[in-house]
Subunit: 480 residues, 2 copies
């Protein structure tokens, strides 16, 4: 009989893994690894430690997988943590008595805290405090950095949900999230279908309301799908829209009422090029209704145009969630070299404020104005809220029939003319015929692109006869 | 009714995800996402495309999850691929007629091929061809780069195995692999228990034989555990041992006989500091018995001492596996900046051959010699095969009882003296009392460490009375 390392013990080096993972899940039957290859005449060890549900029951916020993942973090690295807390150095710490928790300065080329180097998390906390306009300074211990928001969706889905559970998400939405929560996490999305019709209390097309959230939640429940959270993208992709402060509050209160986690993707936070839209980060709220279930993500892919750099960050006050995500960061790790570079970038507040953002916003605004003007000249309705890199364009009148097959055919005609657009089905838009036009490009390239768009649309022989009356209009005109 | 994009269509931009993932798995019942939140009076769409098993049946090498993951790659990015194959450039390609597949030069800060930039994969192929002594040049298309071997274990487990299936692995082994295949992949390990007794046809302690493999496989099968592959670590961690050419051949033939994948972790490939051990990379074989089921991993963490850089690579001739792993590289992505730096490093063959490796091997050899001498002076048996950073040390005689509790207590006494070792249970060693000593450190630090080790061992009041006779000896003496 043996006891596996529990809370008070663990694995001593970075190279040594956990002692064992027998019966990590409850759903895998009786034949556990470790047992399976043991000869029948061998005495079976009793299974303490990893298999004991008591060990995993210390957080009501995590899924069973999440608790197991967090357990690995909590228990499996005591030795290594002990070493780093009081690291031997012939000059600085020869007697090994220094025990300042902050004295951790591992080289950028060595294994480090999987949450990210402290110097970087400090910069991220300062950066988000400033740009999200948080009422109080944000804290480095609530920050986990990793290689992009795709990874963060994957990690959050896995640590918050059981296999087969779901997040609510309003459609249309950035469709890759489907893969991000499913491929590794086996978590599904339950859609809150929005459409362009302005009915009831709606004041604009594709408006998300608590009533629609409640209905989608009820619908999922009635089908036996357990919903664990709500995903909000703000600024919204593909609508180019932002949620008002009042709306955000309502969604958060809805989520709290049902004990749902809220994952807020603010990856276009600094790409609000019309100040008048009044964008508010969730981190700017004076008081979050349910801070332990509110998790924010941001990255440099969009706001700094560096999708190939692979940098994203989580901000959450929930230490169980932060720890479980950090545990998965073994698989989403960011090079120490990149962490250093990122810290250098984020602390350069003068350049960001005085050079980069003004120039970036001016260019986005000009590009947006140009494409908007072209669309108006073509008589094409569109939505656009002054944020993001895209315009949500209504090409329904160019579909001979209102089907997604026709939408795809039109998309292909654009592609044949070497114009790459995104069709609405990719965002799970329920109305065929919507397209996302990305405008964050150079002026002469946009001109060429719009010429080709015009060629395709003017070449459309068959135009739908009398499509449903289009109620959409420019959102920016309507909202203030 | 709508048809989701099939093989011939897809999602047009990097920002647009797949059209849908309804019914991605077959095991999630009837309530599919998309349906779940649809109102009862809405007509349910027929589910073509993603849910159609025919679409996923194009590779017998992949798990159902692996086929689904590969499908996303194959089908979901037609537009983006089309764009990159003939990318508009005002100077180089204004008329958009250039269609050379190789003309892909995206900036390091943009989304790129998730397999890794071609320039890096070319360097990796050349590098591995040279250092693995491959009979023919290795090919860039068989290379996938990502942020470390932990991620690679996670991805391979997921694309090769169904949930709950298993890999065979000989123990003792680098214990973190347990997490790597389980946390995301839900894949288990079936142990091939090795021990220090030299019996039967064994010629050395902890020897892996085909007979032991067969028995472990049979045992797993009899328990209803489906085994999909075999994991080999070569040079071995923690034994510091290498497999001979004959042994490798035997293991591969065994795997082929049972249609098992073989995942070979060669992460200590360049850390063989005794040339006489005759290390052979699996890629040096004239002919692999089952090349479509043989997958090799290497990284810079160990051989270049850069665990914080986060660079690892897969080499496999199986394009289905390479593609499915690449699809998961959305979550294991490597910064373009680091990719560039890695390519620069790997191509600097002169420095690696003439400066780095000779110096590194000389230091490893000297450190190994010192710790070996100290252990001998203490009368402590150990194994060491001239490869890796560690010595596998037999401290069984210091345990009052042969239990893992006592092993843990001894480990803690080392830690109390500020010496961080790895205990055998972390490697699933079946005999309590083995420890892994890492010697890859500076001479004066090793001296201090060994002084403390001596203090702990001399201070052990209670020594086991007459432990089982220790048959282990220095492996390096025995093997040639």
């Amino acid at each position: 009989m043996f006891t596996l390392p529990g809370k008070e013990s663990g694995t001593p080096t970075t190279c040594a893994g956990p002692a064992s993972t027998q019966d990590l899940g409850s759903s895998y039957g009786d034949c556990l690894e470790g047992e399976c290859s043991r000869k029948p005449d061998q005495k079976l060890p009793e299974l303490h430690g990893v298999g004991d549900p008591v060990m995993f029951s210390d957080s009501s916020y995590l899924s069973s997988r999440g608790r197991m993942i967090k357990w690995f973090w909590d228990s499996a690295e005591e030795g290594y943590r002990t070493y780093h807390m009081d690291e031997y150095d012939e000059v600085k710490n020869p007697s090994l008595t220094q025990s300042d928790m902050q004295w951790v300065e591992p080289s950028l080329l060595q294994y480090a805290d999987w949450r990210g180097h402290l110097f970087l998390r400090e910069e991220v906390a300062k950066f988000l405090s400033f740009y999200c306009k948080s009422p109080a300074p944000l804290k480095p211990e609530n920050v986990v950095v990793l290689n992009g928001c795709a990874s963060l969706f994957s990690a959050l889905a896995t640590v918050l949900c059981e296999v087969g559970e779901a997040f609510l998400i309003p459609t249309p939405y950035y469709g890759a999230i489907t893969q991000h929560v499913y491929l590794y996490g086996n978590v599904r999305l339950a859609y809150v279908y929005l459409d362009s019709e302005v009915t009831g209390t709606d004041t604009r097309p594709f408006q998300l309301t608590v009533k629609k959230l409640e209905m989608a939640l009820q619908e999922a429940n009635s089908k036996g799908v357990k919903v664990k959270g709500l995903i909000l993208i703000n600024p919204q992709n593909p609508l180019g829209d932002v949620y008002s402060l009042g709306e955000l509050q309502e969604y958060l209160v809805f989520a709290k009422r049902h004990q749902l986690h809220v994952v807020v993707d603010e990856v276009y936070m600094l790409s609000v090029f019309e100040e008048s839209v009044g964008y508010r980060s969730i981190l700017s709220l004076e008081r979050l209704p349910d801070p332990q279930r509110t998790h924010v993500m941001w990255a440099t892919s969009k706001d700094f145009g560096m999708s190939g750099l692979r940098f994203g960050t989580l901000y959450t006050e929930n230490q169980d969630v932060a720890t479980a995500v950090a545990s998965l960061c073994r698989y989403h790790g960011l090079s120490g070299l990149v962490q250093y570079q990122m810290a250098q970038l984020l602390r350069d507040r003068d350049w960001i404020n005085q050079v980069y953002l003004p120039e970036n916003h001016a260019r986005l605004k000009a590009a947006h104005a140009y494409v908007s003007k072209e669309l108006r000249a073509l008589g094409i309705p569109f939505l656009s809220g002054g944020a993001g890199f895209f315009i949500w364009v209504d090409l329904r009148k160019y579909l001979p029939e209102a089907t997604f097959e026709e939408e795809m055919l039109l998309w292909r005609r654009f592609l044949d003319k070497k114009v790459l657009l995104s069709f609405g089905k990719a965002f799970e838009c329920k109305e065929p015929g919507w397209f996302r036009f990305v405008f964050s490009d150079k002026a002469h390239r946009l001109r060429l692109g719009m010429q080709r768009v015009r060629q395709v649309l003017e070449g459309e022989a068959q135009v739908a006869e009398d499509p449903a009356p289009c109620k959409t209009q420019e959102l920016s005109d309507q909202r203030r």
